[in-house]
Symmetry: none
Amino acid sequence: MIRTLIIEDDFRVAEINAAYVAKDVDFQVIGIANTAASGFEMVINERPDLVLLDLYLPDEHGLELFARLQQLPRGTKPDVFVITAARDSQSLKDAIQLGAASYIVKPFNGHELIERLRIYKIALERLNLSGEVSQAEVDAAVALMRGSKVDEVSDTSSNNPTTSLIVTCLKKNSNAMSASEVADELRISRATAQRYLSQMADRKIVSLELQYGSAGRPINKYKLSD
Amino acid sequence: MIRTLIIEDDFRVAEINAAYVAKDVDFQVIGIANTAASGFEMVINERPDLVLLDLYLPDEHGLELFARLQQLPRGTKPDVFVITAARDSQSLKDAIQLGAASYIVKPFNGHELIERLRIYKIALERLNLSGEVSQAEVDAAVALMRGSKVDEVSDTSSNNPTTSLIVTCLKKNSNAMSASEVADELRISRATAQRYLSQMADRKIVSLELQYGSAGRPINKYKLSD
DNA sequence: CCTCATTGAGCAAAATGAGCATAATTTCAT
DNA sequence: ATGAAATTATGCTCATTTTGCTCAATGAGG
């Protein structure tokens, strides 16, 4: 059970994030703090494994709080997801250098948070390997820990039947196919085909190329990745 | 110039690493320390941008030194590559949590070090973007900063796929290209190529030079900025 | 009956190409 | 030397077409 503290001054946002976190049964929201001071105190008292940290806090900048958290000893120090509207490169640099496990830019899709939590969980599992690991395993674990999407993670989640249907459809056609074409072939709606193909492209199951040539948006064409 | 300090107790290994670092003209080795104490002191005095840190040091464990480095203020604190024979997952976890920019397992191929330095350099350049960045750009920068291979992430430097295509096209051609030439090469319209190239010139992604020599408006020629 | 996952409808937004007005140069006539 | 004409590129608008997304409907399962 990954005990998670949310540090966010906007209570409604905090509750929404808490609801998303709770969707994964391996995570437990142990509290919400709306200031840096109360957040720090809860870290000391409750010993969360993970903190979702907003950068704009009323009493102290989130990165300063993060720096203080990083000074805690190993067993007390949580991992930190930075969740913020700040998109300037200095904030990003500082968060990376401080060791943020993830940097999520507001506004974001709740399912994206769920996905990053899932990847983080898998990274922890990978890091709990017994015995010595190769450089390749190290790199894979590091990439996971930092929220990168890698092929190994995405492969384990394609048991959804519609995804399987689409994969089969793409296998049958050597040419790249558009969402409309996949929809026609499978007798599903264009919206559904588009939704799944976009997700599959994000997870590197398929590759995306654009077909230009007429007015209007270019056509997304999808092909199974090698 | 990225000023680099090597903290390594085995002098021969330190010299070999220094030689590899020096192969990249953008890196300068400013010193070699063989203990944690002298390493810490050189960080304070010389203000390196980057430290290559061995974990087995005679006077203090490398991760403890790393934790002390992470307590330094932003301007003084270097980025840290961990280079070590330690392959146990606890060391890896701790290094990741402390914010290691890279974790390299001994023994390693010198060219691998060069490659990681190159990726790190590109990540720094990416992080020096002006203006606000999208989540995709954030993720790409974070992934680079953490040592992921460039080909996985570098092509997603902009969240607009047409911009990426144009960048790739300009990379392939050492000569400056006009909008018509880019359009022909990519099978997109001249208007679209012109639109994007103008925007990219405004954002300093490309530089603009005019080609004179015939009646009519001069031809805008675009080249990737350095 | 309630919750959740999945789906399709349909709309707003995004992105493109056609094509025209304008800009900017070279050429030519005076 | 100067102004007009010819030439050719750019900038921009608008119609078109696709994507991304929200919301309601539906069915499965508890």
